[in-house]
């Protein structure tokens, strides 16, 4: 016999984002020609993010969560940090050379 349990529904403790990241991406996925084909979900999430930027209504629904993609933004940050690091080093070398030069000049003045 199946024991009947009182289950507090996941939807009560979650957001639409929790639901979407599961039902669009997980669960049993059937590939094949017979079933109705849905557009690629990865593509979809990107489209949603673009849409969201201009759809105020979505915000009213509490759907304002894809503002940043952590994967994309962290990569971008890393590149930014790298290039900044390089630039800082370049500037530092330049600066220290300048300091040395100016120190050399001091006795002359």
């Amino acid at each position: 016999m199946q024991t009947q349990r009182t289950i507090t529904h996941a939807t009560e403790s979650s957001t639409l984002a929790d639901v979407l990241e599961r039902i669009l991406d997980k669960g049993i996925v059937i590939a094949g020609d017979i079933k109705i084909k849905l557009v690629d979900i990865e593509l979809l999430t990107i489209q949603i993010r673009l849409l969201i930027a201009s759809v105020e209504k979505a915000k009213e629904m509490g759907m304002d969560w894809w503002v940043t993609n952590p994967e994309l933004s962290s990569k971008k940050d890393k590149n930014e940090v790298e290039s900044l690091k390089k630039r800082v080093e370049e500037l530092e070398i330049l600066n220290s050379e300048r300091v040395i030069k100016s120190k050399e000049k001091i006795p002359l003045i």
């Binding site: 996941a10 939807t11 991406d25 049993i28 590939a31 109705i36 949603i48």
Partner: protein, 268 residues
Amino acid sequence: MTNVYCYCIIENADETTGTVGTVPKVTGMDGNYGLYSIPYRNLNMLVSRVSEDEFSESKLNDAIEDIAWLGRHATLHEKIVESVMNVHSPLLPMKFCTIYSEEAYIKKLLEKNYSTFTDAINYLKDKVEYGVKVYVECSAFRNKMNNSLHNQFETMDSNDSGRDYLLKRKAKKLIQENLLAEISTRIKMIHSIISEWSTESVPNKMLNIGNKTSGEIQVQNFSYLIENEYLDRFLRVIKEINNRHSHEGLKLMTSGPWPPYNFSPKIN
């Protein structure tokens, strides 16, 4: 004309008659049709009819780009699966909008993957899926970590010499990196502590990056599969972690129980 929308796979619950048992009396995605079962041996696909006017390939691919439609139907799909979960556990949830034109295809699907589905159902017995997200409130965390160190370099101003500016900038960057490393250590530790009470875990995409209360960012998102008997401890450990780390701006949020979306088998 109608198509067949698939929600989830369950085993027969009524062993004496060898039938599915209770099917919740709810309407499906199309409000005009109720749930019923398509059986194959002791497995059942729970489905409902859906009108081709809304659930055909071309209609659907337009519809899911409409954010309001997607939000409404995603919630509906989840609620239907949860209503089944109330009376049948475990179940294998299907991906959103798994739709066939004919019932015969669904029987074939169950036949072809029979052992995969029954193995998965056996594995998932007496287990539940929970989601745990970790958020960090950046300024609280920074204050806790190295307030004095950080303040020393807060005084950066445009009158600084180039060298001072660069040094301060460098120091700030080091502090930033140090903070990120600290956060990373914390979330690894949190994950390893709560994993102790779960059978399996799967990282999820961090879609919900910006929390509603500003200044919080999501730094981790995992789904855990937990045996029923460990669930209380699992949730208690999370509560303890929250108590211990809330002063430094770390917060764990749980959701569930979910249908086991993250622990359903992959099939070809």
